[in-house]
Subunit: 718 residues, 2 copies
Amino acid sequence: MTAVIDKVTSQSTKDLVARLLAKAKAEGRDSLTAPEAKELCDVYGIPVPQEGLAKTADDAVKLAEGMGFPVVLKIVSPQILHKTEAGGVLVGVKSADEARAGFQKIIDNAKAYDAKADIHGIQVQQMLKGGQEVIVGAVTDPSFGKLVAFGLGGILVEVLKDITFRLAPVSREEALSMLDGIQAAEMLKGVRGSEPVDREALATILVNVSRLVDEVPEIVELDLNPVFARADGATAADVRVVLDFNAKVQRYRPNEEEILEKMNRIMKPKAVAVIGASIEDGKIGNSVMKNLINGGYKGDIYPVHPKLQEVLGYKAYKSVKDIPGDVDIAVFAIPAKFVAQALTEVGEKGIAGAILIPSGFAETGNVEGQDELVAISRKYDIRLMGPNIYGFYYTPLNLCATFCTPFDVKGKAALSSQSGGIGMAIIGFSRSTKMGVSAIVGLGNKSDIDEDDLLTFFEHDDNTQIVAMHLEDLKDGRAFSEAAKRVSKKKPVVVLKAGRTSMGARAASSHTGALAGDDKIYEDVLKQSGVIRARSLQDLLQFARGVPVLPTPKGENVVIITGAGGSGVLLSDACVDNGLDLMTMPADLDAAFRKFIPPFGAAGNPVDITGGEPPSTYQNTVRLGLEDERIHALILGYWHTIITPPMVFAKVMVEVVEEMRAKGIDKPVVASLAGDVQVEEAADYLYQHGIVAYPYSTETPVAVLGAKYKWARAAGLL
Amino acid sequence: MTAVIDKVTSQSTKDLVARLLAKAKAEGRDSLTAPEAKELCDVYGIPVPQEGLAKTADDAVKLAEGMGFPVVLKIVSPQILHKTEAGGVLVGVKSADEARAGFQKIIDNAKAYDAKADIHGIQVQQMLKGGQEVIVGAVTDPSFGKLVAFGLGGILVEVLKDITFRLAPVSREEALSMLDGIQAAEMLKGVRGSEPVDREALATILVNVSRLVDEVPEIVELDLNPVFARADGATAADVRVVLDFNAKVQRYRPNEEEILEKMNRIMKPKAVAVIGASIEDGKIGNSVMKNLINGGYKGDIYPVHPKLQEVLGYKAYKSVKDIPGDVDIAVFAIPAKFVAQALTEVGEKGIAGAILIPSGFAETGNVEGQDELVAISRKYDIRLMGPNIYGFYYTPLNLCATFCTPFDVKGKAALSSQSGGIGMAIIGFSRSTKMGVSAIVGLGNKSDIDEDDLLTFFEHDDNTQIVAMHLEDLKDGRAFSEAAKRVSKKKPVVVLKAGRTSMGARAASSHTGALAGDDKIYEDVLKQSGVIRARSLQDLLQFARGVPVLPTPKGENVVIITGAGGSGVLLSDACVDNGLDLMTMPADLDAAFRKFIPPFGAAGNPVDITGGEPPSTYQNTVRLGLEDERIHALILGYWHTIITPPMVFAKVMVEVVEEMRAKGIDKPVVASLAGDVQVEEAADYLYQHGIVAYPYSTETPVAVLGAKYKWARAAGLL
C-alpha cells in the first residue's frame, strides 16, 4: 500500500520532475510518455501497474512472463494519443504466443493509423483484475487554477457527467468528501453483495495527485483513467499527463493586511472627491453630489471641475491635487477618455481608491483602456472599483457614493453585484421589504477590487453580519475561495452565480477536462469554500434578508407545527428539498404535544394542531417546541380562521418567542402563512420581530431556514 | 424481428393465458416458472432466446446449428437445482464439436454430482451477444394501475434510480418517448464508437409488455432483466412474472356524460340548501349563509334547521324534504354524526350534490363513517364533495358556498386544493394580486368527487381558461390521467403534487417494483397526461395567474431584450432552466436591432440595449421583436434609470404591445423589472395590460413563459 507522500518533496523528486519537463519541452511535446508518467507516479505515491517497454516481440514476451499473464499491450507513440481508436491496445493477453502476435498487430495498426507516427515500442503492462473503475484527474481552470477531480469510470458516467472537483491541493478529509460528492457514491460502498472499495487508498491517490499538480505548474491536465478500486487498495491502470509551458499572467493580489488597510479607507472614507461634479440636473456628476449630500454623509466632500467655483454649495477644485486635505476616495463621473489622466492625478494625490463609474472600457471591447488604468493604479498603489459601476453605499456612514437613488434602510446585510441592474433590484427589494443593509457595492468590470477584497473588508466590519454577492465570473477564483473559506466561518456568504447554465464548452485534451463543466466547478468550489449558493435572484435577496434575522440553530432537529395539514405536507417537502432533518418525535414529547391538540389532530412531526384551534393552541405547542431542548428549530404553518385571525396569531407568536428569549432560549422560527390578504401584514409583523414569515409560500421560509443551516454546518457550528 | 402484436388478442393466446394462470393458482404459486414465462413472451411478441431440449449429443448439435452458435448448454434435472455447482452449465459453446463434447461432459458431471438424478436432457439456449443491457418492466400502482417501465441495466442504474414509467398500454410513440425519458438516454444513441441500439425493437417490446399486463390483470409485476439491445434487435435474457389473484375493489367511476350532468348542477346550482344554517355568529352554518347572501348569489337559498323559522331573512325548513322546489346542492354545516341521516334525506329529495364541509371522517380515522356516506350516495346517486372541506366558490354565479371569506375577483383561473389551508392561500393570493378566478374548490377527503370530475366540468366551462390543482394523492390516477390528457389539449392544467419527497418505500417483489418511487411515477404520468407540474405553491399560484394572461406562442424562438446586461445573463439562465430556446439571431435581424442600440450595446440574443437608453430604444427594439415573424416570444429586462423611469417604461411597453395587437400581432411578452420600489407599480400596470411582469425577479417571469410553452407543446400547438 502506498501512503500519502511526505509533506516535503525531496530533492530527488524535484530533480526527476525537472528532468522530465526539460525533456518534454526540448522535444516540443505537450504530454509525458507513458513510461515518464509512470516514473512521476512512482515518486508521487500513485500506484500504477508493473510495466515495461518492449522494443521487440521477444522483449514483450519476456516482460509479460516476468510480471505474469494476463497483460495489456499498448502502443507508445507521442503522436498517438487516442490509443484505442488507433487499434493500439490489446487487453487480456494470456500467453507468450498471444503476446508475440499482439505485438505485431499493434505495430501494424499504428502504422495504418498514422504512417508518420514515431513508434517508441509497445508498453507491456500488468493487467488489473476486478474492482470498481473510477477516474481521478486534474484540470487547470482559468479562474480557480489547479483542481483535482473524481468520478466513476465507464461510459455511463461520462454520459451523466457525474464528477466532482476540489481545489488542489486537497487534504485527506477533502479527498474523502469527494468520494461522497458524486451522485453514484453508493457504488463505492458495496452494492448487491460487492465489497466496499478501499476509501483510504482512493483518498491517498487524490491527495497525491493534487499535490503533484499543485507543485508542478506545468502539468495542466492529468487523467488516471481508469483507477481500479478494490477492497484492499487502488491502482491506476492508465496515466495521461498534459503539459503547458506558457506561464499564466498573475493578477495583482495584495495580502490580507494590505487589502484591509486600503478597503477601510475606501469603504469608510473621511473625505470624498467627486471628479466631474456637476450642477446640471440629470448628469451623473450631479446625482453623485446630491446623493452624497442628501444621503447625510458627514465627511468632507470635494467637487472637482475644471471651471466651476462651487457645486451645490461646496467649493470646487480644478484637480484633486488642489484639494487641501487628505482624500480617501475619488468618485469618477467623467467620460472614459478623461479617466486615465484624472487617475494619474488621483495617484499623485495619494488617494486610496478610485470609484470608476464610467463605462466604455473592457465591457465595450476597450480592453487597452482598462489595462492602462490598471497600470496607473499599480504605479501609484490605488485600488480601483469598477469601471462600469453604479458606485457603492455604506449605510453606517450614510454614504451614497453613487448616481442611483439615496438609500437609508440600515441593517446588517452587505450586498454586491457585478451588474448595475441587479444593484438596482437590490435597492428596490431592500426598501420594499425593509431589509436592513450595511453596504451595496457595484463591482462591474472588476479591473482590480473584486469579491475577495470585499469579503475581507466585510469580515472585519462589525456593521455586517451576512455577505450576499451576485457575480458572473470570478477574476481570481482561488483568492475568492480562500477569503470565502475564512469569512464564512464567521459570517454567512451567499452567492448568486449568474451564467450557471452557460453552454460554453471548454477546449480540453484530457478526459477529465472534457467532463469539467464550468458550473460544476463553481458548484463544488463554492461548496468547498463554505458558500451558500443562491439559485435565483429572489433566493439571493430573501437569504440576505432572512438569514441574519434567525439565530444560529444548536442542532439538526427541526419540528413543524401547523394548523393546516396541507401546509404540513408542503413544508415537509420543502424540508427534504433543503436538507433539513425532521426530528423523529420521542414518545414523551409526542404525548406532551397531544395534550394541547384535539384528539383527531396528529402529533408526530409535523405536529398538526388542526384548523379550528384558538390562539392558545398555537401558543402552547410553540412554547413547548421552544422549551424542549431536543428541538432546535421550528417551522410554523398558519391557517387563517375566524377563531385565530392573522394578526392575533402573529402577536401571540411574537409574545411566546420573546418570552423565551427573555429566558435565554433563542431558536430559529420561520412561518408560512396561508390565508386572506391580512396574512401579509401579519408576515411583516412577524419578520420585524425576528420570525421569518411569508404569505402564500411554504417553500421560501423553509429555504431561508435551510440556508441558515447550510451556513451553520459549513462554519462548523453544528 | 418481432413486430408489435395484433391489436386483437387471439383466442388461442387467451386460452394459453387462462391455462397458465389456472395452473399457477392451483399450485398456490404467485409467479410463473421460466418455461411458462417464455410461452407467454412468445405469444405476446416479446423476444427471448431460442432454446430446446436435447436428449442426445446429436440433438444438441442440431438445435445449436438451428439457432446459431454460440449457445449455452444447461442440465435439465428436477434433482439438480444448483446447475453451476453441479458442473451442469457450459457457456460460449462455439461449434458442433464443442457442443457434442459439452453434452457428454455435462452428463458426466451430473452423474458424478448425483448418481440418482433423473436427467431429462440438456437445454440448448441461444447465447445473447453484447449490446446494451436495459430493463423493461411493469408494476401495478394502487392509484394508477398498470405501468410499464424502462431503464438501463446494471447496478449503477439501480443506484441512480434512472428509470421511467408510462401508463399501460403504451403506443409506439409513447414507448419511443420512454427511450428518451431516462437521464442516460444518450447511452442508447451510440457513444464512444458503439452502435446505436435498435429503438424500434425496444419500443416493440415495451408496447407488447404494456399490452400483456393491461390484458392480464393478474400480472401485477413483470421484469425483463436484462434485455440485450443491439443495433439489430433486442432480446430479453431473463423473464420474471409476479401474479396476484386478489382483484382490487373498483372506485365509483361514472362516464363523462354522467359526470358533466351532475357537475353542472353542482357547480352552477339554481337552488342551494344549507343544512345546519345558523343565526349564531362564528358558526359555520352562519358563515355559509352570509357568504351566499353577501357574495351576491342570485339563485334560491334554503336554510335547513330543526327549530328555526327563518335564518338571516330566509325561510328555514326542518328537512330538505320540506323544501318546495328543486334543489341542486346541499351544503352541510352540521357535526359528523348527523351527516348520514341528513344525506339520506338529501338523496330522497333528489339533490345532485352534497357539499360536505364537516370533518371527523377518514382524516381522523373514521373510515367507516365515510364509507357509510359513500354507500348512501351510491344508493341515491348523489355526488359528494368532501368531507372535510371549506366548500367552493364559482364566481360567474357569485356563488360562495363556503365558510371562508367571500371572494369576488372574477376571472379565468379555476383552482382546487385538497387542503383547506392551501385553499385560503389561494384566496389571499388571488385577492392580493388581482388574479381573476372562476372557481376555487375544496376537495378534502375526496370520498367521491375528485380532480377528474372537476377537470371534466372545467373542460366545458367557458368561464375557465386554466385549471390549477393542489393535490396530495389521486384516488384514481388513471381516471385523472385520462381526463387531464383530454382537457390539457384545450386548457392548461397545472398540478402541485404535495408529498412529492415522500420517503415511503413500497413493498415490491420485482426489480422494477423496487425502483418505482411514488414521485417518479407521478412525475412521468403527469407529463404523459400533458400536465404542467408546479414545483412549489408559488409556482402553482403564479402559473395560474400568469399563463392565461399570455397568448399562445406560435413557435419556439424566444428573444431577450434587456437594458441591464446582468439581467440578460440571469434571464438566459432561466430560459435554460425552463426549457426555452433562445433564438440564434439571423444576421439581418441582428443588423436591424443594432440600428436602435448604442454602438457598444450587444445585439445577438440577449439584445443588450444598455442601461442609459431613453424609452424610444425600448420601444423600437420591442416593436421590431414583435413585428419580425421569426420571433415568437419576448422577455424584457428593464433597468430603472432617470431617463426611462419605471412607469414610463411600462406605459411605452403597453403602448407598443397594444399597437401590435391592433394589427393582429399577439405574442407572449414577459418582463423582469430591476429598480427602486416604483418598479412594483410598473409591474402591476404591465400585468393588468397583458405583460407578465415581476419586480426583483428574473426567474418568475421566465418560469411563467416556460409553463405556457410546456402547455402549448403538450397540447400539440407547437
